[in-house]
């Protein structure tokens, strides 16, 4: 919707040039950012995390081509990601064996083609229906492929999977891609290319028809397009990019196994796309970064990270269905009208209230978890650097007070924030009109 509104605003040639500069400027900033990040974060695990974020960005964007743009909820998108990865790893082994002069940067294309081919095959049967039927077929297909991956041991490598060595391919400029930083730049380059490609797709008439199919398939038929064919093409293209992401993952880890096609992997990309926000192009990018970061780091902090993931997901579904991007871009008109600063005060109060309530809730959950699941460790636990004795009453009292205080504060601050918001929106509107 925002995208349609944006293009509608491009009327005069002068604004055309400015908008075009602004739009390409964003990509230039992105390229510079991708290139400069390794200079700030140098450790091996930071580079690994950045590489994983890059892969997940492509994967989540490809998923959003289905969910956000065409309205197709798929529970089995990892099939194309995983199959792309398997084909890439087999291709790499074949190239190494036969010593073809094919350099590594070109290899993810194999994954893309594999993803495309399988999307064509599976898409021809699953895209006839939309909505819940499509979701169910995708789930069924995902379970089928996941189960066959344990049976067809020759291709899927059984439990150990298939390994490869990315340094043994043909080298250009003597870059062997052994070091993680070289792999990162490869992934970053592919990420930029795929992002530009997928963004460009949303600008084409085909991209618009996808949106139309999402909104009202019946009406699409009235104007002469077939929703089935639109869905099918979207599905195939989405499989292509998912395959590229899978190929890059195969290069990064040098091992591919059945978990790449698993239902859990499909769940993660759904989470990433949805939390980031499916209504905007940039949503899955944000979601991919956040979810990858949390996946790697959250388990260091708490043992029940899955619970927090689930709660966060439910919170987003219930209170912020537009996701992170939706929340942030809600403020875009305010920034344009330069009234954003008026919200700073109320938002800070709201943040404080939310943090207090969140600290209380987390404390309750962790205390409860420690009491129930880890009784054999003794009653004392550490959190936020402080020791709590779960057997005594005081931590529970503290937690309860925090929750109550946070809830009370939120109740007080919420009308203030809402009022400030309404004022700012009104000011923005009058400002825009004048």
């Amino acid at each position: 919707m925002t995208q349609i509104a944006e293009t509608a605003g491009m009327a005069t040639p002068a604004r055309d040039r400015f908008a075009m500069l602004r739009r390409s400027g964003i990509w230039i900033v992105a390229i510079l950012l991708f290139a400069g990040l390794p200079l700030v974060f140098r450790s091996g695990s930071a580079l690994t995390m950045l590489s994983l974020m890059g892969i997940m960005i492509i994967f989540a964007l490809s998923y959003n081509m289905l969910l956000g743009q065409t309205g197709m909820l798929s529970f089995g998108h990892a099939v194309y990601y995983g199959l792309g990865a398997f084909f890439v790893v087999h291709a790499m082994n074949a190239i190494i064996r036969a010593r073809y002069p094919i350099p590594l940067p070109v290899v993810p294309l194999v994954g893309g083609i594999a993803g495309l081919v399988f999307a064509i095959i599976f898409g021809s049967v699953s895209t006839r229906r939309g909505g819940t039927a499509f979701a169910m077929i995708s789930l069924g297909l995902a379970e089928l492929v996941a189960s066959s991956s344990l049976i067809l041991r020759g291709f899927f490598g059984g439990e150990e999977g298939i390994t490869t060595n990315r340094t043994r391919l043909f080298r250009i400029l003597d870059i062997n891609f052994g070091a993680q930083i070289q792999v990162y730049y490869l992934i970053a380059a592919w990420c930029i290319v795929c992002m530009i490609a997928m963004y460009a797709l949303t600008r084409t008439p085909f991209g618009r028809m996808c949106n139309a199919v999402r909104e009202n398939p019946e009406r699409v038929e009235f104007i002469g397009y077939s929703p089935t064919i639109v869905r099918f093409i979207a599905f195939c293209l989405s499989g292509l990019f998912a395959g590229v992401a899978g190929g890059l993952a195969a290069i990064n880890f040098e091992i591919v196994n059945a978990s790449y096609v698993g239902v859990q992997q499909s769940g993660v990309v759904l989470l990433a796309a949805y939390i980031g926000g499916i209504g905007h192009f940039v949503g899955p990018v944000l979601g991919a970064i956040l979810v990858t970061y949390l996946q790697i780091m959250l388990s260091d902090v708490t043992e029940i990270w899955q619970l927090y993931f689930g709660l966060m997901f439910i919170a987003v579904v219930m209170f912020a269905p537009g996701g992170l991007a939706g929340l942030l871009l809600m403020h875009a008109p305010l920034l344009r009208a330069r009234v954003l600063h008026r919200l700073a005060g109320p938002y800070l109060l709201l943040l404080a209230a939310a943090l207090i309530a969140a600290a209380g809730v987390i404390l309750v959950i962790e205390l409860g978890h420690h009491l129930m699941a880890k009784a054999s460790d003794g009653s004392v636990m550490r959190m936020f650097g402080v020791s709590f004795d779960t057997a005594s009453v005081s931590p529970w009292l503290i937690a309860a007070t925090l929750v109550a205080a946070g809830a009370l504060l939120t109740r007080i601050v919420w009308p203030i924030a809402t009022q400030a918001w309404n004022d700012a929106i009104a000011a923005a509107r009058t400002g825009a009109r004048s």
Partner: protein, 316 residues
């Protein structure tokens, strides 16, 4: 051979009835509210665990009544304060809400009862052999499970066809908008249906717990098969859910006993495949190995060939 067929039929019917207990609730919810409750198997799991916990204090028989009531109340509350708020964001959001809910319930169960299986025992009253088929003993508890499932099915049928509420629910199954326009308190009916659906799943959990392993991953194992049952049976049709549950229960149980593979079939025609080709790998897979995957094959086939399901009267 005959023994195998007989035992497999009994087991297949039993598994089918268990599936039906859960699928009946899911079909009702799906048909009426249009939301495919991903967390339905989680309520089944909650039923098993509550049954275990309550039976430790007061015994199995009170637990059989109490646990479903508790889970039903929880389900009604979820509907009232969770699902209803998400409803306005569309079907996708509802689906995702139940998806997240399934996640959270599994985590909470793990937190409270741990990740290892719990010692949920068959009640002493039923811990004997009912009868012996050739040389295999059939436990009385399984017979009990069968009888309870049939009893609940009959009760459900009676409620739906003979009571006022049942008639409203039947109408809402096929014409939900019309029912709303006729002035019935549809939100309350929804809450009732959701809660009852969850209670039914919980009953399945309470009685299946001692027979199967009661563990925090129960929901994940049975969940996908439930959807297959509901979709194959068809929207808006309880009879369809019944037929599909029995069909899938029997198929799964029988397929497990079949040791034939495609290679065997080809062999009878004198065709032998080179053992190193991956095609030969595929054809050497026996039916027994892929038995649990057959429901998904069925799902995909039905959705392609007959999207309304076997007995469905409505489109999804």
């Amino acid at each position: 051979m005959l023994e195998l067929i007989l035992i497999s039929t009994l087991n297949g019917m039993l598994f089918g009835m268990l599936l039906f207990l859960m699928a009946s609730g899911l079909t009702l919810i799906f048909s009426m509210m249009g939301v495919l409750n991903f967390a339905h198997a989680s309520f089944y799991m909650l039923g098993a665990f509550f049954g275990f916990q309550i039976s430790r204090y007061v015994g199995f028989w009170p637990a059989l009544v109490l646990a479903p009531v508790v889970v039903g109340v929880i389900g009604a509350l979820v509907e009232r304060y969770g699902l209803r708020n998400v409803h306005r964001h569309g079907h996708v959001a509802e689906l995702l809400f139940t998806f997240g809910l399934a996640f959270v319930i599994e985590e909470i169960v793990q937190m409270v009862w741990g990740k290892a299986p719990v010692d949920y025992r068959v009640p002493a009253l039923l811990d004997f052999t009912a009868f012996t088929v050739f040389s295999t003993n059939y436990p009385a508890y399984k017979l009990f499970m069968l009888l309870i499932s049939i009893a609940i099915f009959i009760a459900l049928l009676a409620v739906l066809t003979r009571t006022r509420v049942g008639l409203i629910i039947q109408a809402a199954l096929t014409h939900p908008n019309m029912v709303a326009m006729l002035g019935h308190n549809v939100p309350r009916v929804f809450m009732l249906v959701f809660g009852s659906g969850c209670a039914l799943a919980a009953v399945a959990g309470v009685i299946a717990g001692p027979a199967l392993v009661t563990q925090a991953n129960m929901a994940g194992l049975l969940g996908p098969i439930l959807f297959v049952v509901v979709v194959v049976g068809g929207l808006g049709s309880l009879v369809g859910a019944f037929a599909a549950s029995l069909l899938i229960g029997l198929i799964q149980t029988f397929a497990v006993s079949v040791n034939a593979s495609l290679a065997d079939l080809l062999g009878t025609f004198g065709l032998v495949l080179d053992t190193r080709s991956s095609l030969s790998e595929l054809s050497n897979v026996t039916v027994a190995q892929i038995a649990p995957v057959i429901p998904y094959l069925l799902l995909v086939l039905i959705l392609i060939l007959r999207p309304t399901g076997l007995f469905g009267t409505r489109d999804t």
